[in-house]
Symmetry: C2
Subunit: 250 residues, 2 copies
DNA sequence: CTGCGGCCTGACGTCGCGTCAGGGTCAAGC
DNA sequence: GCTTGACCCTGACGCGACGTCAGGCCGCAG
């Protein structure tokens, strides 16, 4: 893909891509004979991360160090991005609530104290500060250990993890075949096991998030295909079980 | 208040306030004999709006035109800010969902298509574009009319609106006095009337938002005081009724 | 072979401040 | 009354992340 196409796809200008090239943040993996920039799928993946981190307020230089850190795998980035986005969500909710409070105060003819009105700005510092905090925390042992564990997944570990999930998937398909209802106790227990497995091995996955994944299993064809290849009807089955389990734990 | 205090309160640097002064975005309403900037409460209010709009991605010059527009009253700004924040909330949710999807895809060993991964960036353009859109839409008649209606609240209109809400508050306090349960049909109907009144006269207030307001009536002393001055126990009563009504309509 | 759109590389402009530099101000303590 | 240290002032330059030309090279449709 050449610059124009990438720019259109990612919703940025060509100039931005030029800039990222010059500062070494994202250099296309190839050039044509005429010097045209050629972007590979891997470049697009990187661009995606760049844009996410940028949106979250990181300076480009820091984005570069984050992405070029050889000790941070893709899953690590996804976890970080997820955390940062959830922070932002929380903060935005707080701001919405603050504005609603002001609306109501205004309607009633009450006026708020300045401290109160700025409090949502005051104790903020998350996104940008998150970078610093992370650097500081990056030095602590707890963090280092958790880093270690996820990063140090050897091929063996991966096979073990894969075996674990294969096991749950197999038991799901057995339950399906033997006519166990997807919203039954047994199916829900399997779903819960699935959730805990994800939390242990990949990322922190609460019931709410798990329910979201469940929906995806039937809404996105690729995830559907993944389960349907194991057994026909399994995607819908797992999806239902997962959502029933989420409802149960809520 | 002088610059340092304001800066600390609002969570910005002194330099930022200097900048806003120079570009005429926010000039303190007074100076001491020695030339020290003196910020009034009104200045703080303006600063608050400035920071909100800035956070939402508006260029400062545009913020200035928004705030200096004599045809936009405070309520108008609150409505706009509320709308923009909700847009942002939606967008951030979409991004969170996208990241979760990628996490799951990654865990399963599936890879997403580039189009898909960028779609949350692609069809975006809300916040910044919102400004443009607003300018374009600002020319349409429908918008102009709705502007007219809210802005054109004369003293008479205000009195009528006030009478309306006084009426509901009075009927609430009657219900309270005569022992009608706050989660009864009657109380909930009053709550619903309250909600529709707000929507008609002030801002669009859905059940969910109304429930939030209800919570505030007991959590924030000023709102509590407002209702308690009408009748003791009314704050809690209205709060319960409002939330019961919200639950009913959900 | 001639447009015409897309790509290239400088190079300068812009926005929203950060960061000194050089100097007055003010409340506190000696 | 005088110093001292924190806070304030006004330039003025710097910087990050691009926007915006300018001048020129592809590439392919007609």
């Amino acid at each position: 893909m050449n610059v124009g196409e990438v720019a259109a796809l990612a919703g940025v200008t060509v100039r931005t891509l030029h800039h990222y090239d010059r500062i070494g943040l994202l250099s296309p993996s190839g050039r044509t004979a005429a010097g045209y920039r050629q972007y590979s799928p891997a470049d697009l993946t990187r661009l995606h991360s760049v844009l996410l981190y940028r949106e979250l307020g990181f300076p480009l230089e820091e984005v570069a160090t984050l992405l070029d850190d050889p000790s941070a795998d893709p899953a690590e980035h996804l976890r970080r991005q997820h955390r940062l986005l959830r922070d932002r969500l929380e903060r935005t909710s707080a701001m919405v609530a603050a504005v609603e409070k002001e609306m109501e105060a205004h309607a009633m003819g009450i006026s708020l104290t300045p401290e109160e009105r700025f409090e949502v700005f005051g104790d903020w510092l998350p996104e940008e500060y998150a970078a610093e905090a992370e650097q500081k925390w990056g030095e602590t042992e707890a963090w280092a250990q958790s880093q270690q564990r996820t990063r140090a997944m050897t091929k063996d570990d991966w096979l073990r993890v894969k075996a674990e999930s294969d096991d749950v998937e197999r038991r799901f398909s057995e339950a399906l075949r033997s006519g166990v209802a997807p919203d039954s106790e047994r199916a829900m227990d399997l779903a819960e096991e699935h959730r805990q497995q994800i939390s242990r091995n990949f990322y922190d996955c609460g019931p709410e998030m798990h329910a979201g994944l469940g929906r995806m299993y039937v809404e996105d064809e690729r995830f559907t295909a993944y389960y349907e290849r194991i057994a026909p009807g399994l995607a819908q089955y797992v999806s239902t079980a997962v959502q029933a389990n989420a409802a149960r734990r809520a």
